[in-house]
Symmetry: C2
Subunit: 212 residues, 2 copies
């Protein structure tokens, strides 16, 4: 089972590495990082450089995962990443996205009017692209599996691991990565965070979505 | 504020990228990935290659973070990574470790008999090194901050972000990375997982710790 993780400049690191840590532990899984331009791809912070092969050299992945990040804004107009996504979609078992990665799947025309999760800052943008945005953290609609912002990719990946390899395998992976979260604050959603904290993040919306 | 993330061959990706995603968002933070041998460093799965500078070129980091992974077993005998850790310890503000990364700090002689968190599979090994292992997910003992296995690094990093930059900054980071976890199973600790799942993971202990 080949899992292709799509990278592009200014991706958000945890969007893809959370799922990678889980999915790569499924027995028989082979994971590749791939980008339109092969070589080192820099994340949004610019400190992390991940080596990627060429998307064109990945022709028949079983699972595709697209993360989000400010760089997604550069992938809204149709281009080679979209063409690759459409080319591998018919033969893939799962097409998945984390955070604003779902905007990329949507702009490639793959999501239609499906139910889709995305980063809470991007639900409006997703609606513009025609998909039905939800506030669920993980959404499975047919073979299209999407997650809310950044860290939700871990929950998505454990869900997928269960669907692909069974509950016991997924539970063993959860135990290996000791995923029994204890966030020190309850500020993980706009509903639970204080209004001041929500304001603070909303003020940076364009920067975070890459739409400046 | 410079944050140095220590890499070595066969590190566990999420151990370092979870904290990276949080810590790099602290205002004024500059993060560097560094390894004894600079260049691309491969993670435990071998699919992820991260570009690292030389540890020797990082002389005065404010925060140090060491992740775990099977490669930790190659870092138990004293060597250049330990010498670097001891060299930067006196001037750093925080020395932190995730999962079996705490074994590396302990083997460098930095932890003494402090209270320390580590991966649940490694508590015995940590005790052999003289530290007091706890079942807490995050432990702050003086300037030494440690986390339980893999995903616990996210909780550690949010805790550190609060201590470094204040609660409101940490809460805004939590909201940006939408860290409001909903694990699809309750198998994240040996206490909550089923006995069959615990057995399954225990059978792979040496492989996971790199002690085969």
């Amino acid at each position: 089972m080949q899992i292709a993780i799509v990278l592009y400049p200014e991706f958000t690191a945890l969007d893809v590495i959370g799922p990678y840590e889980v999915l790569s532990r499924i027995p028989g899984a082979e994971v590749v990082f791939a980008a339109h331009e092969p070589g080192d791809v820099a994340d949004a912070t610019g400190s992390l450089l991940v080596s990627a092969m060429a998307l064109d050299d990945v022709s028949r992945p079983d699972v595709v995962l697209v993360g989000g990040g400010p760089g997604q804004a550069g992938l809204m107009a149709d281009g080679p990443v979209h063409r690759w996504l459409r080319a591998v979609d018919p033969t893939s078992t799962w097409m998945s996205a984390v955070s604003t990665g779902s905007l990329i799947l949507a702009s490639a025309g793959l999501l239609g009017d499906r139910e889709v999760a995305t980063h809470w800052l991007a639900t409006g943008q997703l609606a513009v692209l025609g998909a039905k945005s939800t506030s669920d953290r993980v959404v499975i609609d047919g073979k299209y599996a999407t997650a809310a912002g950044v860290s939700a990719g871990i929950d998505l990946a454990l869900t997928l691991a269960g669907l692909i390899a069974g509950d016991e395998v997924a539970q063993a992976i959860q135990l290996i990565v000791e995923y029994s979260p204890e966030p020190p604050y309850a500020s993980g959603t706009p509903e639970s965070a204080s209004p001041r904290v929500v304001e603070r993040v909303l003020a940076r919306r364009d920067e975070l979505l890459g739409t400046t």
